[in-house]
């Protein structure tokens, strides 16, 4: 790993100033993704600004919903009694991610900003438009069994690797951000980008902006929820496909639904049309199958990931059945 300057800051403002002043400076919090990328020479920041001790780690109830500090550890959020009671879908998604050790290190802000796990992005000897714009997408004609079936471009077919973000997308989260010119709020659906012509830009966050918190509105999805993660081993692997599903039921009629998928696109993939199609319907496998068909409209596969065209709708049905208690 190349050496770098290290700065420990005690205030959010000082941290933002330190990064704003230096084009080659980066924030570091948990470091579970950044150090990995630095060891492999994918990124080489000249200065790291340690934000891990900033007072941004609280999980606080708000008048409506909850505010989760960006420095809260993944394990702290997953184990938090209030989160488990009011936002069980988020707790389940967090528990499905990484390992106990990594969840003790990774922060909420860092999880949102983690880079893709595409092998072409990680191997500096191979082309990748995300790592090195203009070199081409190695996965397009290469081994693409982990890759996207929605929202990709010919420049990049990588997927976003987070589990937590799939739940945050389903639960209508908002990302709170501070920068040199002030604070702003970004709806979770707008936070991550599709690759388009600029796959090297993952999010709409500016380089010198810092995520300070995530907020969630009060959620009706407290009981009938399920986070289903399909992967190549039983635990501690990235998702091939994952589904965050929540239902608000009255008897066996669906009042509201939330639905998002992971492992299928460059960003957490919200299934808004399928959610709408579920409202007012009875809880049956046929209802869920129909919603899954709507969700899969527009999906397109590559040489090695055609299995996702079958796996994804089946995962949606299974997640909804489990959430509804009819699995």
């Amino acid at each position: 790993m190349n050496n770098f300057q290290y700065i420990r800051t005690t205030s959010t403002k000082a941290a933002i100033d330190a990064v704003a002043k230096d084009p080659d400076a980066r924030f570091i919090a948990g470091g579970t993704n950044l150090l990995d990328l630095m060891k492999r020479g994918i990124v080489s920041p000249e200065k790291l600004v340690d934000i891990s001790r900033l007072p941004l780690n609280k999980i606080e109830r708000e008048a409506s919903g909850v505010r989760i500090g960006a420095m809260a550890l993944n394990s702290e959020v997953a184990e938090n009694a209030f989160i488990k009671e009011k936002f069980p879908l988020l707790a389940q998604a967090l528990q499905a991610g990484a390992s106990a050790q990594l969840r003790n290190m990774a922060t909420v802000g860092g999880n949102i900003l983690q880079r893709t796990r595409c092998h072409y992005f990680y191997d500096t000897s191979l082309p990748c438009n995300k790592r090195e714009p203009g070199t081409g997408c190695g996965a397009l004609e290469g081994n693409n069994h982990m890759h996207a079936i929605f929202g990709f471009s010919e420049k990049c077919i990588a997927v976003h690797p987070s589990d937590m973000c799939v739940a945050l997308a389903a639960l209508d989260a908002t990302v709170l951000v501070s920068g040199p010119t002030g604070d702003r709020k970004i709806a979770f659906a707008d936070f991550h980008r599709l690759p388009g012509d600029k796959p090297h830009v993952d999010t709409v966050l500016e380089k010198n902006e810092l995520i300070t918190a995530v907020t969630l509105p009060d959620s009706p999805f407290t009981k009938n929820v399920h986070y289903l993660k399909v992967r190549e081993r039983a635990s501690y692997a990235f998702a091939l496909v994952s589904v965050a599903a929540g239902l608000q039921l009255e008897n066996d009629t669906i009042q509201r639904a939330c639905l998002a998928m992971g492992g299928v696109a460059h960003k957490p993939w919200r299934l808004a049309s399928a959610e709408k199609a579920l409202i007012g319907k009875k809880v049956t496998e046929a209802t869920f199958r129909q919603a899954a068909e709507i969700a899969m409209q527009g999906a397109k596969s590559f040489e090695h990931n055609a299995y996702k065209l079958k796996l994804a709708p089946n995962a949606i049905v299974q997640a909804l059945k489990t959430a509804a208690g009819i699995a």
Binding site: L35, D36, Q101, N104
Partner: protein, 211 residues
């Protein structure tokens, strides 16, 4: 024969050019071994940054109850600090990329991966490694259980497994074999001693001792 009388050192001019060459070549060597941050600083004549990149940072932390005051480069991981500077080689370097769990240690009571932790970020923290688990010659109950249940074959992953296993029970995630499997999934064992590791953890959990 005198101590120093190389043939090319008897003329002032040659001496000068040799010195220049040495200066030059050592600068080149330094450049080759130097991170881009220093090169950029050197080319921009930013003395401040040049100093900054070479600077060792002071670090105070406690490892297995012993306080250490050290000076380290920012890029040193906690794993390398433990193994190479504090000679605590019980913590193993398996993958060095956060994928295998062999380097699991406790920092302020939490199990973490030492290979993915910068040592400078551990200022003031308390680190426990496998060496800090036993009480003198008395093995920790988890170590006893691993021996009893043969929870290892080659033994390379064992320190990480044991540190993770202790944390697994302390966290309250050892209530069934399935739960142990899930919460121990960050520790890989390529010999495949998993059933015995789970048996060892279940026995320690059942004994109900305070760990």
């Amino acid at each position: 024969m005198t101590d120093h009388q190389p043939d090319d050192n008897n003329s002032e001019g040659l001496d000068e050019s040799r010195r220049d060459f040495l200066k030059h070549s050592s600068l080149l060597t330094a450049m080759a071994l130097t991170p881009s941050t220093v090169l950029k600083a050197a080319s921009s004549q930013w003395d401040e940054r040049l100093a900054g990149a070479f600077e060792k940072i002071s670090l105070s932390l406690e490892v297995n109850g012993t306080k250490h005051s050290l000076a380290i480069e920012p890029r040193v991981t906690l794993l390398d600090l433990l193994r190479e500077q504090l000679a605590l080689t019980g913590t193993k370097k398996g993958c060095d990329y956060g994928q295998c769990g062999a380097c699991t240690v406790h920092v302020d009571g939490r199990r973490v991966l030492a290979c993915m932790s910068l040592a400078v970020m551990q200022e003031g923290r308390k680190v426990t490694t496998i060496e800090g688990l036993a009480g003198g010659d008395t093995l920790h109950p988890m170590q006893e259980a691993f021996v009893k249940h043969d929870g290892l074959q080659c033994g390379y992953c064992t320190p990480g497994q044991i540190m993770s296993a202790v944390a697994c029970i302390r966290e309250g995630h050892a209530n069934s074999a399935e739960e142990i499997q899930e919460y121990m999934s960050g520790n890989l064992c390529r010999c495949g001693a998993y059933p015995n590791i789970v048996a060892a953890i279940m026995e320690v959990k059942k004994e109900g001792k305070k760990l």
